[in-house]
Structure formats: structure tokens, C-alpha cells
Subunit: 255 residues, 2 copies
DNA sequence: CAGCCCACCGTGGTCTGACCACTTTTTGAA
DNA sequence: TTCAAAAAGTGGTCAGACCACGGTGGGCTG
């Protein structure tokens, strides 16, 4: 019969650090963008070695919760929530993710996001979206700046959806897709068409028409996908075998 | 004019390690479940200190790519793809995620997943789903085991969808939701109803009826949500201000 | 001989303290 | 006043020792 260990107190230092910082964030002591104490000092405070502290901070940094700047300090992440940058990339290598799958995920998520934004978006979001659309039309001949406003538009839609988790998911996928995207220097005509689609999406959101917003976003993304030749291939390679049994980590300490 | 640094060779050791292991995975030298060399030996091989190697491994472990077992060794993760365990939890603390938001994300994703599974599921998936449904009916009086088969059912649906990225997203959310779920010892009648809904979902998937599968999954999840009192509150707290400008990380090294 | 316990070994975890590298700030000379 | 050099402050790396955990096999016990 296994003894029930009561949240072992000698938990690994790493988690000690993680939980400590976590609580600092939860009780408001630490806000996004804040700088945490220097490693040497912080380590002394927590009564652990600097090495262990660094392990814990590294853990948080890997997950995108903390941002480390060599020679400056360590900060709480302040950008839009996002899972570890290399996360998708790494897991892609491990489990063989395909580009079309990433795009499919993006289309599904972002279409819903657009619908939610149409339901819940506030005036401030509408204003921000309008501004980005305007900027897009203003930078039709400036590809790199156009791209920035394009991304901002989608990011604002995410915020307007009122669901930061879905927003984080999208952000993760988008940033992974970003690299591939930069290479595709879209034609000027593509940008004009794209800008107009964004405007229509904006109107649907502002007009609180969820179904229409979703349809337009879906349409817009499929077009973008086609422009980059990332459609789903008609023929699939043999899929891996179904995992059976392997309850492994699932099984609680039950009976 | 900034000098163009050619992928500086003295890149942080951490990324050196990460990229090394990444390439080992990509070229097939390292398979899921494999054990990597002992730290001391590996560090010598890579010509770096053990501390730096550990930093890199910790990074990978934080993202769920590697699994460390004290006193045994370090392995490549072999379970279903999933983002860092504490990831959602930590980010929740940082950005104020709500339970209903997690559930909303789950409903959206998993409903689509069910539809995709109905389109693309193979016989092997159908068989596996049937088995899990049978097990669920067989364990109606055994809550903890019932839960395991419940989770397996949903996991198989994810696999059947043919999109490992969406599956990983769901897996991440589900595992974060898992803790809360264990506490809710559902009533026996709830389990019976739940099992029957799963059976219907299975039939829709097997019958290749995407729309129906989606509808049923959506219905099932909303019921589960209601059973745990995680509905979306009618009134929302004031949302954070729209982030404007902050292109920060977005801006490429353009012009 | 069968079974169990425990010392041993391999592996990851932590500590110490020194030094290196990057940024920002301060200083002092032109 | 300007700007380049130095200093200060912070994260990054290194080295080597020792601790803690888990598995294994030899030796003791029954």
C-alpha cells in the first residue's frame, strides 16, 4: 500500500521557484513587465543556490512566462499570452506536424474567434480594428509594414473574442507560421484584395454578425493558405497506429 | 547601418543544446521514448559544461519534449503531444484565465475535432472508440476507471481527426482541466447518460456524419460543463485595454 | 534452496565560487 | 559640449565536489 505523501515539502527546487514566482504573480506583487530581483539577491532571499534559481527561471522562460535579457535583467512577460516560442516547432519535429495542419488549426480557431469577437467585441476593439484596416490600405505598397498591420488586426480580433486562452493558442500557431510567411512576398494585387477582406471582416464584427464574420474569416484564411501553397494534400501518408491502453500518466493514484 | 551577423556561432549554449537534440530527433537518431546519454557524458560530447547542458535539457523538459526521471535518466517524451504541463496553469495566473474560458476553448476545439474524425477516421479508430465505449458501460459503478476510459475516448477522437496540432492543443487544455474534474464525483446517473452520449458520438463518427458528430460532441461537453458549474457568467468584468502599437517583437529586421 | 534486504552503482539534483559577456551608466578627457 | 573609455550591474558559463533517488545484484536469513 503506497503511503500518501502530503505534497512532499522537499519538492524540487525548480518547482519551489516556479511556485514562488507564481504566487507573486497571483497576489499581484509581480505584474507583467515587472523586473524580478537580480539572481544573486533573489537566490539569497529564497535560501537556494543561484544555479537552482536559474533552473527555475529557465523553466518559466521556456514557457514564455518570463523574459530574460542578458546584461539587463529578467522580466515577467508582457506581450500577448503565448506558449513557448519553440514549442510548436519542436513538437513538430517530434510528431511530424505538417504545414497544412497548422493552417487548418488556425482556420478553425480564428474563424470561431471572429464569431466570438462579433458577439462580444467592444467599441474600443472596433476602433482599433478600423485603425488597422486604414493602415493596411495606407501601406499597400510597403509589404513589411503591411504585414505588421495584418498581424495586429488578427491579434485584436483575438483580444475582442474575450477568450485569452483561444487567443494564446492562435498566437502560438501564428508566430510559428510567421517565418514561412515572411518569405512569401505577396503581390500588390493580393494585398489589395486582402485589405478589402479585412475591411469586410471588420464590418461584420462591428455589425455584430457572428455567422458572417466567421464565414468571411474562413474565406480570408483559405485564400491566404492557397496563396502560400499550403493546401492539404489529397493523399495522406499512413497514420501512426492508434495508441491503446497506454493510460500511463492518465491513471490517478486510484485503487 | 547594422552589421549583418552571420548566425553568430557563439549562440547561447542553451539553444545549441536544443538545436542539437532537435536535429537528432529530426534525422531519426532519437525516437520518442529513447534515452539520451548521461549528462556528464553528453556534456563532454558537446564540449560544454554539464550546467549548460542541463539548462538546455531543462528548456526541452519544460516544453514537454523531454521527460526527466531522477536517478534513472532523461528520455524523449513518448505520450500524446502536449504543451508544457504547467503552461496553461502559469499563464492562467498571469493573464487571468477563467475556467469557463478553458471550457469554451475545449468545446470549440473538440467539436471540430469530432467533425474531422467523422470525415477522416479510419477503421482502427472506430474499433478503438467502440472498445472505450464498451469499457465505459462496464465501469459505470467505478468512477475512477470510468474517467480513464472517458479521457481515452476523447483522446482517440483527437487522433482520428488527423490533425496532431489540434490534438495537442486539446490535450493541453484537458490535462489542465483534469484536476478540477477529479473532484467532481459525478453521480451514477450522470455517468450512464454520459456513456450513452459517447456511444452516439461514436456512431456519428463511424457513420461519417461530421455535422452530427459535431453537434453531439458540443451537446455532450456543454452538459459536462453544466455539471461542474463552469458556465460562462452573464456579466463580465472590465476587460484590459486594447494593446495598440506594441508591434515590438513583431517587427522584422525590415528595411 | 527460496526469498528478502541492503549496500552499491549509475543517474539526475544541488551547491559553491570564480570568471566571462552583454548593457547601461558614469566618468573624464578632448 | 561631446564622446569615448571605464565602471557597475546583470545574466551566462564553467569547474568540481557532493547529495538524492531508483534500480540491481550479492549476501544474509529462513
Amino acid at each position: 500500500m503506497p503511503r500518501l505523501k502530503t505534497e512532499e515539502p522537499n519538492t524540487h527546487r525548480t518547482m519551489h521557484v516556479v511556485n514562488h514566482i507564481r504566487s507573486l504573480i497571483e497576489n499581484g506583487t509581480l505584474q507583467p513587465g515587472d523586473k524580478i530581483p537580480p539572481e544573486r539577491e533573489f537566490a539569497r532571499t529564497l535560501k537556494i543556490s543561484r544555479a537552482s534559481l536559474r533552473t527555475g527561471i529557465g523553466y518559466l522562460a521556456a514557457m514564455g512566462v518570463m523574459k530574460i535579457r542578458h546584461g539587463v535583467g529578467t522580466f515577467v512577460a508582457d506581450g500577448p499570452p503565448e506558449f513557448g516560442k519553440a514549442s510548436l516547432s519542436l513538437m513538430g519535429a517530434l510528431h511530424g506536424f505538417q504545414s497544412w495542419q497548422m493552417f487548418e488549426a488556425r482556420i478553425i480557431l480564428e474563424s470561431h474567434l471572429a464569431a466570438l469577437a462579433a458577439e462580444r467585441g467592444k467599441e474600443e476593439h472596433h476602433a482599433a480594428l478600423a485603425e488597422e484596416v486604414a493602415e493596411m490600405f495606407a501601406t499597400l505598397d510597403d509589404p513589411s509594414n503591411y504585414l505588421i498591420h495584418d498581424l495586429m488586426f488578427h491579434r485584436i480580433v483575438s483580444q475582442a473574442s474575450g477568450n485569452p486562452i483561444l487567443a494564446a493558442l492562435i498566437e502560438t500557431i501564428t508566430s510559428a507560421l510567421y517565418d514561412k510567411r515572411r518569405k512569401t512576398v505577396e503581390r500588390s494585387t493580393d494585398r489589395r484584395e486582402s485589405a478589402e477582406m479585412h475591411r469586410e471582416i471588420y464590418r461584420a464584427i462591428r455589425g455584430r454578425k457572428p455567422a458572417e464574420a466567421r464565414k468571411l474569416m474562413d474565406q480570408h484564411l483559405r485564400m491566404a493558405q492557397a496563396a502560400q501553397g499550403m493546401e492539404r494534400p489529397s493523399e495522406r501518408k499512413p497514420s501512426p497506429p492508434v495508441q491503446k491502453g497506454k493510460a500511463s500518466r492518465l491513471a490517478p493514484a486510484a485503487s
